[in-house]
């Protein structure tokens, strides 16, 4: 059901070798990790954060943390999974720091009534952008990145139920804003 974004630029064997060197503090290996995974991290950050500046900050914070903490990476999961969890954590931290909650409420008020005769048809990206920050982060982390509600709740310092209700509300809104989507058989 869920998609896990995989970085296939490095084969598993290559990735292991690069990670081993990175763990020893080899800057060339760390740069190789950056080159391989920076687009994935930036995409995730850009989908969760509202501005490119914030996404770039998240990108830098993420790889700074990777450089600093790669020795703690035990190799239990994929290196991309580990970097992605660092990135999502940094992105959510950025959301909290920016105190977007006030803006969230404003955006919610802007949402058109569901089923209105003048159903607002908009681009999916624009609709996604119109969601509150929390809702957008939940949609992206759950439906695209493949995190469970439990994982999202933990990362947000909330419960799995909170994540579930945010996702439901978000889809309700997307459904309303995007109008009747064509069902492809």
């Amino acid at each position: 059901m869920t998609r896990v974004l995989t970085m296939d630029v490095l084969s598993p064997t290559e990735a292991d070798a690069v990670v081993a060197r990175a763990r020893l503090g080899d800057p060339v290996a760390l740069e190789a990790l950056y080159r391989t995974y920076s687009t994935g991290v930036y995409s995730l950050a850009r989908r969760i954060c509202r501005t490119t500046e914030d996404a770039e900050d998240v990108l830098q914070e993420t790889f700074f943390e990777v450089c600093r903490s790669i020795r703690t990476y035990r190799g239990d999961g994929s290196i991309w999974g580990w970097i992605r969890s660092v990135a999502s954590s940094k992105a959510l931290m950025r959301l909290r720091r920016n105190k977007y909650r006030a803006t969230d409420e404003l955006n919610d008020e802007l949402a058109p009534a569901r089923g209105a005769s003048t159903a607002l048809r908009m681009d999916l990206e624009a609709a996604l952008d119109r969601l509150s920050d929390t809702a957008r982060a939940v949609v992206w982390l759950h439906d695209v990145e493949g995190y469970t509600h439990e994982e999202i709740g933990t990362q947000m310092g909330r419960t799995a139920s909170f994540s579930k209700s945010q996702l439901a509300r978000a889809h309700q809104r997307l459904r309303g804003w995007l109008g009747d989507e064509a069902v492809v058989a």
Partner: protein, 196 residues
Amino acid sequence: MEQLLAVRDDDRSEPELAGAHSHVASCEACQGELDRLHQRTARLRALPTMAPARNHFPAVRTRWQWERNQRRIRMVSGMFTAAAAALLLSLVGRDLMNPPRLDAEQQLQTAIDASQQLEATLHAWDPAQRVVDGRTARLVVVIEDRIAQVDGRLQDAARLEHAERVQRQVELWRERVGLMNALVDVHVTQVSNVDL
């Protein structure tokens, strides 16, 4: 919508969700909604990835290396401080545990100086020009006799071997200082019950 999402995600964690699964299977409208949900999710996943406009790694590397250097400096300076503290503690601590002792020659000189200082004090008082009562006069005589005995023993001690001589002289000069103190007390303060 929450139940529809549960069906989409095949979530059967709660009892009522089983009912939702069976309902959607038999409801055409809900199946349509589920299809829209699937399609929307697929479109979300198909959104293009976005690449950063520039390479941020140089900035990351600079910050990381700076922090790593700072950490090393802190570690080295911490080790240096700890080593210096240990050295200092070993030196000072040893002195604290075993305070430096004056050697015998210093102890002798200290006792002689103290005795001479008391002699000077007594001389400045000029007891010969003062009137004393009979009891005090008798006490002065006793103390002066004791001092004379000590002086005699000091002359005897001068014939001993160096190490033994110095040790003996220290003892005698200290005794002499005690007697001189008593003499000064008797003359100056007319103390009549000096502890001899």
